[in-house]
């Protein structure tokens, strides 16, 4: 049991576990599974903008902010008490391809050559961390949801709009990973 918990989970354990978040949130809080609206509530909470878009009582959505605070805590707990020393179990094909593009460090969850404060002024880091984050915020509000709200909750409800959004997610993601990422990594 301990060994099972401490190892990375295969997809057929992790996927259903994530799927169960849908009924759990409905039964316990009567809320629809979704994460990205928290970014808007954070803006409203911090009064970062005077725009009408943020003129609502964010406290009515505090469950969502507490939920994402929980995500942070849950990850912290796992990192502290049940860490894995293994490398992320990506395929050898991916390791080969990333190596050929200039990635040499496969430890941790993200490549240290990009995601570190030491590299904050590098082009690859600025594009990945700063521009990437901006597009996540802008895009999720424009589309009205992210992987959890559209791909999992929306598709679970057989919502056509969510299917359109998920097709969009993959158009954007494929374009970046296939055509732009090699250019970004060439600056390493």
């Amino acid at each position: 049991m301990i060994e099972f918990i401490s190892k990375p989970w295969p997809w057929y354990v992790a996927g259903p576990a994530i799927g169960l978040m849908v009924p759990l949130l409905l039964l316990v809080l009567n809320k629809s599974f979704g994460v990205s609206s928290s970014l808007k509530h954070l803006c409203a909470m911090c009064s970062i903008s005077k725009d009408d878009y943020f003129k609502y009582n964010w406290k009515n959505e505090s469950w969502n902010l507490l939920f994402v605070f929980g995500i942070f805590l849950g990850a912290l707990f796992v990192a502290e008490y049940i860490p894995t020393n293994e490398l992320v179990g990506i395929s050898t094909a991916t390791v080969t391809k990333l190596s050929s593009l200039g990635i040499s460090d496969f430890t941790g969850l993200m490549p240290s050559q990009i995601f570190g404060f030491d590299h904050i002024s590098n082009t690859a880091t600025l594009i990945s961390v700063v521009l990437g984050g901006f597009l996540v915020g802008f895009g999720t509000r424009y589309a009205g949801g992210c992987t959890s709200g559209h791909a999992i909750m929306g598709l679970s409800m057989l919502n056509l709009g969510s299917l359109v959004a998920v097709v969009g997610f993959f158009i954007g993601g494929l374009a970046i990973s296939w055509f732009i990422l090699p250019l970004i990594l060439s600056s390493l």
């Binding site: 978040m21 970062i48 469950w63 912290l76 995601f115 984050g133 009205g144 990422l181």
Partner: protein, 137 residues
């Protein structure tokens, strides 16, 4: 109590995100390069479990623990907004290697630099708020 439950459910989700490795930039590139079934298996089986759960909740007319009927609202369908916004988010997903849930989980996993991404994402939301009336939806 509701506040505590929200934190606990978030913590459960955050823990799963780490154990499933879905918060890993490496996993996201592998997914977009179609080099493993892992991410597709996770998203696909999550949808199947979510959909079956919703059907059961609907058929049983289940109530939440506070006694209210569970009837989740459909998201508004904006044909252009969902597609264009989706494409923009997809670009951000591949660049950071993380969607919003994993962003918070990465900070918990010790990647402080992702706080910069979260702040950037908030600026992205602000930009959307300012521009939204001029954008096609």
């Amino acid at each position: 109590m509701r506040h505590l439950y929200a934190v606990l459910l978030g913590a459960l989700f955050g823990g799963i995100l780490v154990k499933a490795e879905v918060l890993s930039w490496f996993r996201i590139q592998e997914m977009f390069w179609f080099q493993s079934f892992h991410m597709y298996g996770i998203i696909g089986s999550a949808i199947v479990v979510g959909a079956i759960s919703l059907q059961i909740i609907k058929r049983l007319e289940a109530k939440s623990i506070s006694g209210d009927l569970i009837n989740p609202a459909d998201k508004k369908f904006n044909k252009k907004g969902n597609l264009i916004g989706g494409i923009i988010f997809g670009c951000g997903w591949a660049l950071t290697g993380a969607c919003p849930g994993p962003l918070y989980a990465l900070v918990g996993s010790g990647y402080g630099i992702i706080l910069v991404s979260i702040f950037s994402a908030m600026l992205g939301v602000v930009a959307y708020g300012i521009l939204k009336d001029k954008l096609p939806h």
